[in-house]
């Protein structure tokens, strides 16, 4: 099961990276998110899985696709100039980072130490209790942040206020 979902996730992400067409890239991002939701399920966290689907695939990517359709820029534009140094430089950096990451994971002793996972699944009740008892300030700040972002988005896009 883990392998299947991990493969779905990684294939979705790679497709998103490779596909020239913005809409298909967005859809492969959805595939990747569904894989991540599956991983969350395997981690015994169905609440996070449901939220992943509801918020990420159901709202954010839909919004991105909506904007793509609205702007009628369905394909990536031709590059203005090659900018070879930047492209190859970032490719090398990224691959170095990737290799380093794999090396770290492989040789890390903390990660490799066998642990027994917590087994009882997450429920909304436990999550809510913790959120509103211990993290109330964080919750309020997140609410403020969302409000500020909403106002910012409206003021950026609306032509005449």
């Amino acid at each position: 099961m883990f392998l299947i979902f991990a493969l779905i996730t990684l294939v979705g992400a790679l497709l998103m990276f490779r596909l020239k067409n913005l809409i298909t890239a967005g859809l492969s991002l959805v595939l990747c998110f569904i894989g991540i939701a599956g991983l969350f399920l395997l981690l015994g966290n169905p609440v996070a899985a449901a939220l992943q689907i509801i918020v990420y695939s159901g709202a954010i990517v839909v919004l991105v696709l909506f904007v793509i359709m609205l702007l009628a820029s369905h394909e990536e534009e031709k590059p203005e100039k090659p900018r070879g140094i930047q492209r190859w430089g970032s490719a090398v950096t990224v691959s170095a980072l990737g290799v380093g990451a794999i090396w770290i994971v492989k040789n890390s002793k903390i990660l490799a130490s066998p642990t027994t996972p917590n087994v009882d699944p997450m429920t909304l009740n436990r999550l809510g209790a913790s959120l509103f008892r211990e993290h109330l300030v964080g919750f309020e700040i997140a609410g403020l942040l969302l409000l500020a972002a909403m106002i910012a988005a409206v003021s950026l896009v609306k032509r005449e206020l």
Partner: protein, 350 residues
């Protein structure tokens, strides 16, 4: 049950699961097929017409137009499967699946009858047993992915009407999900849990529709938007944009998308029944038993399916700005007010 499972060399749990999978898949599908009939005949009756009644089994039995379903299915199979030029072939082929899957999956957590015990084991009449941690979040999540069927259909068919329909649908579904989720959350709050079994158990004395009437109205209205039914069927909008997102779809692709709309309808009715009308509960009967409870659930669901059809043939389509205004300025504040009111009540009660 035990004897039967011994006969088939399966554990009772496996047998029961297989049985439930078949039931949960075939039940809504059958109901949806029936609903297409109800929609056509019912709309005809509402408009003082007769409706389709010419198709006959073996040229003899008309059965009030029911063979029309078979005739339509056969017709859809026989038609040419057309892909428009410049369409995105892969996505165009994928679309009916994307439309059908969320519709067919949505029913999985809804309990359609009272749990019963047999041979020392409890059998639950819902595909996912209670305590799975997903609860009512599951239909919400599945409903959120339903918009991809519309979006992908719209974009892949390379048609301007389709893309207009798809854009309308995406904005509409995202907007109405807010009001709907808030209405559902106030039910979670008053129930103290979010498992459908728990929600039904909490409606023992009184159905949720009594104390949460405003929430019910909001949820019901949002369900019209989520299922793309008539007062809000902007994705289709046949008088303005031909047939909206499935303009280019023909033959069995069209049939699947059409059918998935009706499965959405059935699932939406089942959700309404579960959340607000006590699920399988029968009034004044504490322990209805399996058969009666399933019948009650079926009856309530069919009633709400009929209400969907009824409303569709009563109301004209809204204008798009009216829809958006309604979603953000009426539905969201109303369900927020409902939520705050119940929070206040619970706070007062301690």
């Amino acid at each position: 049950m035990d004897q039967l499972s011994a006969l088939l060399h399966m554990s009772p749990a496996t047998l029961w699961m297989a049985f439930k999978v078949v039931l949960v898949f075939a039940g809504p599908l059958t109901l949806a097929a029936l609903m297409t009939w109800v929609e056509r005949r019912g709309s005809a009756m509402i408009q003082d017409r007769i409706g389709p009644n010419r198709a006959a089994l073996f040229g003899k039995w008309r059965l009030m137009g029911l063979p029309q379903l078979a005739a339509d299915g056969i017709k859809a199979f026989m038609k040419e499967d057309l892909v428009p030029p410049h369409a995105h072939k892969f996505l165009f082929w994928l679309t009916p699946i994307l439309a059908f899957l969320p519709a067919a999956l949505g029913f999985a957590v809804i309990p359609f009858g009272q749990s019963f015990q047999s041979g020392g084991q409890t059998y639950h009449l819902s595909l996912l047993d209670p305590g799975n941690g997903m609860g009512m979040l599951y239909p919400l999540a599945i409903g959120a992915t339903a918009v991809y069927g519309v979006l992908v259909a719209a974009w892949s068919s390379n048609n301007k009407w389709a893309i207009l329909g798809g854009m309308r649908a995406s904005a509409q579904m995202v907007s109405y999900e807010l009001g709907m989720s808030l209405a559902v959350i106030s039910i979670f709050m008053t129930t103290g849990g979010y498992d459908p079994h728990q929600i039904i158990a909490a409606q023992h004395g009184m159905w949720n529709v009594g104390p949460q009437f405003v929430g019910f109205l909001v949820f019901f209205t949002c369900m019209f938007a989520e299922t793309n039914r008539l007062p809000f069927d902007f994705a289709e909008g046949e008088s303005e944009i031909v047939a909206g997102y499935f303009t280019e779809f023909g033959s069995m692709k069209f049939a699947l998308m059409y059918l998935s709309e009706f499965i959405h309808l059935v699932t939406a009715s089942a959700l309404i029944v579960t959340l607000y009308f006590g699920g399988w509960r029968v009034p004044f009967v504490a322990n209805p038993g399996v058969l009666l409870s399933v019948a009650a659930f079926l009856g309530k669901t069919l009633f709400f399916c009929w209400v969907f059809v009824w409303v569709r043939w009563t109301l004209p389509r809204f204008r798009y700005d009216q829809l958006m205004k309604m979603g953000w300025k009426v539905m969201l504040p109303l369900s927020l007010a409902n939520f705050l009111f119940h929070a206040f009540l619970m706070f007062r009660r301690g």
